[in-house]
């Protein structure tokens, strides 16, 4: 079926040239494994009732866990990871009547989904585990009973961060804690990952206090460094299980490029319209299809357009297509999930909300509308298609940006590439300090805690100097003026939530930055394919009022990003001017576009108070001489600046141990605070998170590495390996690789000349004594 479909697409005259590549990933047969010891009878019976034979990786995981090892299972989507760790947990539940287990998921939606899995396992095996979710949505009337009775508790890192100071209420759960399960462990990378790693140390410190020493079970998408990642995340030694023993049908991975629509072959057809067309084709063939889009709005629009199309072509299928995204109310989401599972829905258009393991079964086909930014995500999304025996289809629809186009041009490069590393930094002083402070409010911190926190002495001294902790006979005790867990955030997602209200009822919720994008006054908000006009966005009450109105257009805000230097920490004024300090990053929303099928049909002014945050960043200026030299060679100076910024951000994780998504950058041919062409690189976290500071101190190495990266890259005009950024706000344009090389060479030359000259005085604006 799938193969015929792909062949027919290839043959179809009007699709000529749109299939850039078809990669056929061969089928694999099941490889079963054997347990070293038999399972308890109830579990054994359950498996045979369900006709489940354990795959090799599942058996190995169970064997290792029974030996008391910590295990990370890093096999593809739908390979049965959940069962592999639920079996040993339930085994222990059946042999130790007090044993408890904590399951940590990155999202509430996942927690609720897995609760059902655990409840049914409890029912099937008759092993009493009383699984329950404990998170921000848990009614306070149920909390104490869950803490006391549930043996498996499912939660998320944000909740855990809030609950740790209340450990005494959890004492019986903690005393008996045998397992900590971290599902989707690859999500915990970059600053979020470093925060999670320290949160785990706080948790383990409290476990030690209550006399327990839980075993870890991690499950993860395929990443380049599962061993290192799991060990950094938890501080324990791990056994990696990555040989997938599950059976899989063939997969056809199609690279789909929208056709040119002009004679000069410069403009391609809209990728969104192309996606709609592909989805209609897939659904008409009755392939159950999951379509991933890069934004919430696109998920809504593509599902709406698809339904419009189907109204003409096959009206019976109109009701079989729906949108799915974060922000929907939980019951709405559950309804879509269950309809999809029972095949009541054939097509679902979703944001990455369905990328993680929500159980919706396996699809025949997945459409990925636009490269999602990482290989990890791309393969996770593609992995949603695929059944044990039948063929499946994954289609990547390219956007017109250089990054997507690069993969269309060099598909082999895509399939030959290793997955990204999951990076965690245990030496980030901002993050470390924040968590040591949180820990000091949980139990007094003493020198015994050095095994959990590196550089503990200096961290404590720094906290003491700010009166955040006090030294006592019992250790260091937190004594600041507000709650530490309110100040220390695990990621940079805004915790200001806007409610969208339609005639007195809450339609959905979104965080403040999303509300700026989608719920400004005049915006068309899409919800389950229906259109609503926003009549008011009240920032004080955080309520957006909407009225339902059927319109055929949608809206898109335009914004500018401005940076201003508020306070200089340090400065080096030699031939190249470098600075480090506090920056205010301001996003001004000034106008919105009214669009219809990707066409702009109108513009309206937008009156919104700008969104701004203060962070720490570094900057450097480029001299007029370099600018004129580049222009003299007929190269694009702005493209060069932009390319240098991208490539530096790409190399930054090498020095600052972060994820590139943790950093922001702006390059400008003239900046009011420096009066010169300037590149800024800043921490994407309110108050700064210690990345730019490390980069500032390592600037010469960073320049050298960046230059090497660009120079040695085999591409001629730039590619994802050097100057293309997966998160560029300007569609990777303009970019000029040659100009970038000249800028970096000149900068390095002048720096080297400077360092050969007799040392000038360091114009650091902090005290010289240090």
């Amino acid at each position: 079926m799938i193969e015929e479909f792909v062949e027919s697409l290839k043959r179809f005259e009007s699709y000529k040239g749109q299939i850039e590549h078809v990669e056929v990933i061969p089928a694999s047969t099941a490889c079963y494994g054997k347990l070293e010891e038999p399972l308890p009878k109830t579990i054994e019976d359950y498996l045979s009732r369900k006709k489940i034979q354990l795959y090799s990786h599942q058996a190995t995981a169970i064997n290792r866990l029974r030996q008391g090892r910590n295990v990370i299972i890093a096999t593809p989507t739908a390979s049965g990871k959940t069962l592999a760790f639920n079996i040993p947990v339930f085994e222990v539940m059946s042999t130790d009547q007090f044993a408890t287990a904590l399951y940590i998921y990155p999202t509430k939606a996942l927690t609720n989904d897995q609760l059902q899995v655990l409840r049914s396992l409890e029912k099937e095996t008759g092993i009493r585990a009383v699984p329950n979710v404990y998170d921000g949505d848990t009614p306070s009337s149920q909390r104490s009973s869950i803490r006391e009775k549930s043996r498996i508790i499912l939660s998320n890192p944000y909740g855990l961060h809030q609950y740790l100071p209340w450990h005494y209420k959890w004492n019986s759960f903690l005393e008996n804690l045998k397992f900590i399960v971290i599902d989707e462990a690859h999500v915990y990378r970059g600053v979020f990952g470093s925060n999670m790693a320290l949160l785990m140390r706080r948790l383990l410190r409290i476990c030690e206090h209550y006399g327990s020493d839980p075993q870890f079970i991690l499950s993860s998408a395929t990443i380049a460094n599962p061993q290192e990642h799991s060990e950094k995340l938890t501080g324990r030694e791990f056994e990696v299980i990555s040989d997938d023993g599950s059976a899989r049908g063939r997969k056809f991975f199609v690279f789909w490029n929208p056709p040119f629509i002009d004679i000069d072959r410069t403009i391609r057809r809209s990728a969104h319209q192309e996606t709609r067309e592909l989805l209609v084709l897939n659904v008409s063939k009755r392939f159950q299809t999951l379509c991933f889009t890069v934004s919430r709005q696109m998920a809504e629009l593509i599902s709406r357009w698809t339904r419009e199309d189907l109204t003409q072509k096959s009206p019976k299928l109109v009701g079989a297509v729906a949108a799915y995204r974060a922000g929907y109310l939980p019951e709405e989401r559950r309804e879509i999930e269950s309809k999809f599972k029972t095949k009541g829905l054939i097509g679902v258009v979703s944001t990455n909300a369905l990328e993680l393991g929500i159980d919706i079964g396996s699809m025949d086909s997945v459409i990925i509308s636009g490269y999602p930014g990482t290989f990890i995500s791309t393969w996770q999304q593609a992995g949603r298609a695929g059944r044990t025996t039948a063929d499946s289809l994954a289609t990547l629809v390219a956007f017109q940006n250089p990054l997507d186009q690069y993969f269309m041009k060099y598909p082999k490069d895509f399939f030959g590439r290793p997955h990204e590393q999951a990076i965690i930094d245990l030496n980030n002083q901002y993050i470390d300090l924040g968590h040591v402070m949180c820990a000091s409010a949980e139990l007094p911190v003493t020198s015994k805690d050095e095994k959990y926190f590196s550089n503990l002495d200096s961290s404590l001294a720094a906290l003491k100097s700010q009166n955040l902790v006090r030294e006592t006979t019992r250790g260091y005790v937190y004594s600041g003026l507000s709650r530490p867990v309110e100040t220390v955030k695990l990621d940079n997602i805004s915790d200001r939530i806007v409610k969208v209200v339609c005639s007195g009822k809450v339609l959905e919720t979104l965080d403040l930055t999303k509300a700026y994008d989608e719920a400004f006054e005049g915006a068309v908000l899409l919800h389950q394919g229906d259109t609503y006009i926003v009549t008011e966005l009240d920032l004080a009450t955080q309520i957006a009022k909407v009225k339902q109105e059927d319109v055929d257009y949608y809206t898109e805000p335009l914004k500018t990003i401005d940076i201003s230097v508020i306070k200089k920490y340090e400065e080096k004024n030699e031939s190249v001017n470098f600075g480090l300090g506090e920056l205010e990053v301001t996003e001004s929303y000034y106008q919105y576009l009214i669009k219809k099928y990707d066409e702009v049909i109108g513009r309206q002014p937008l009156n919104l108070s700008p969104l701004s945050f203060v962070t720490v960043g570094m900057w450097f200026t480029i001299t007029k001489e370099i600018e004129s030299e580049i222009e003299g060679q007929n190269l694009d100076f702005e493209g060069g600046l932009h390319a240098v910024e991208h490539a530096m951000i790409a190399m930054a994780p090498l020095y600052a141990m972060c994820d590139r998504w943790d950093i922001g950058g702006v390059s400008t041919p003239i900046h009011p605070d420096t009066g010169q062409p300037t590149i800024f690189i800043y921490d994407g976290f309110e108050g700064g998170i210690g990345i730019s500071e490390v980069l500032y101190y390592a600037i010469e190495q960073l320049f050298t590495a960046t230059l090497r990266l660009i120079e040695n890259c085999e591409c001629s005009e730039g590619c994802p390996s050097c100057i293309y950024s997966p998160k560029c706000g300007n569609e990777n344009s303009p970019l000029d690789k040659k100009a970038a090389i000249i800028i970096l060479e000149k900068l390095l030359n002048t720096m080297r000349k400077d360092s050969n000259r007799p040392k000038q005085q360091d114009k650091s604006s902090t005290h010289k004594k240090e």
């Binding site: 209340w166 300090l433 700010q466 019992r474 100040t487 004080a540 700064g688 240090e770």
Partner: protein
């Protein structure tokens, strides 16, 4: 550590210090402003009027001036006591306030005459039952349907098991119900323990003063356990626990939500095992029911003013952390005078409120 890492650490800690300082848990508002609920902000947001704030700051500098260079013992008479968890500074006083209580007979009568305490009996059914001659729960022990649950309730009443009666009440009545107050008649006066703590904030920070008042023949015996510095906290907590036993019945103002869980949290913080599941009369709930319609709010200070009590020295509770912080930084004991006095007054007012409530119920 390299110079650069040192600089980084310094900036990181300054940034943290700033953000923790900005996160202070109250706002100063002008008299015209209606205290409004914060949207999406922190869970517990409190406020203090501009005038109160500036008066408190004036008081603080006056006390700092007055007690410059003085030792704690000379300013606040008391003694250092030690126990197996540490030490603290103990201040003892007596005053002639009495905790009024109803007699056991009266409270038993009032409670048993409310048939609605039994599950399944609503106001209409109660009227019907009373018409049929079932005047009290005791009578219902002969009723074919409510016999069992009436017997169960009566056995708790006969055992004078206040804790189990409280949980029974909690499932049938609002926490503010006068009958829940009448339950106090089941306690011996000497078992009452009025408890009020002063802290460095809303949870997760040290308790700096624990006050307990007990009923004596001559009036109230007040003991306050003060931290000379944070090292004293475990000792002070333990001292409070030593003043309690299984029969102690707590009287607090918002203690169900604040004081008692706070003390439990701090005990657990130092790894001290102790459960505080005693009978507990939280007067805030009763006060709200009794006086809410007559007062702007039911803060202890507001209720107290309504009864005409004027404090000579006082500071709003929300500013206590700042007063203590200033003592810790300067070691000037002036601010402690205000804290100790504030706590002592709170204990006395609490005894008065508890007594006055009986006049309100009209049972």
């Amino acid at each position: 550590m390299s110079v650069q890492r040192k600089r980084l650490l310094k900036r990181a800690s300054e940034s943290l210090g700033r953000r923790i300082g900005n996160g202070r848990e109250y706002s100063v508002i002008s008299e015209q402003d209606e205290p409004h609920h914060m949207h999406g902000g922190r869970i517990q947001e409190t406020w203090v009027y501009q005038e109160e704030y500036s008066n408190a700051m004036k008081l603080k500098s006056k006390l700092v001036q007055q007690f410059k260079g003085k030792a704690l013992e000379d300013v606040i008479p008391g003694k250092i006591i030690s126990n197996n968890q540490g030490a603290c500074y103990c201040i003892e006083a007596e005053c002639d306030t009495h905790i009024k209580n109803t007699s056991l007979r009266k409270s038993r009568e009032v409670i048993l005459s409310d048939l609605k305490l039994l599950s399944g009996v609503g106001p209409a059914r109660e009227r019907k039952l009373k018409q049929q001659g079932y005047q009290s729960i005791r009578d219902l022990t002969k009723h074919p349907i409510w016999r069992e649950s009436a017997q169960e309730f009566l056995s708790r009443v006969d055992l004078k098991d206040v804790s189990s009666l409280q949980s029974w009440f909690n499932s049938r009545l609002p926490k503010s119900h006068p009958l829940a107050h009448y339950l106090a008649g089941f306690c011996r006066s000497e078992d009452f323990a009025i408890i009020d703590i002063e802290t460095m904030g809303l949870f997760g920070r040290p308790i700096i003063l624990l006050g307990i008042a007990k009923s004596r023949a001559s009036g109230l015996g007040i003991s306050q356990f003060l931290l000379r510095d944070i090292s004293d906290e475990a000792g002070a907590l333990w001292e409070l626990v030593s003043h309690l036993d299984g029969n102690s019945a707590f009287i607090t103002y918002n203690g169900r939500a604040f004081d008692i869980p706070y003390i439990q949290e701090r005990l657990a913080y130092y790894g001290i095992r102790s459960s505080l599941n005693n009978p507990h009369f939280d007067a805030l709930h009763f006060a709200r029911r009794a006086w809410r319609s007559r007062l702007d709010n039911c803060r202890l200070e507001t209720v107290e003013k309504y009864f005409g009590v004027q404090r000579e020295i006082d500071i709003p509770s929300t500013l206590i952390p700042e007063f203590y912080e200033s003592y810790l930084k300067s070691r000037n004991v002036g601010p402690l005078v205000a804290i100790v006095e504030h706590n002592r007054q709170d204990l006395i007012t609490l005894a008065n409120i508890f007594s006055k409530l009986y006049d309100e119920w009209n049972i």
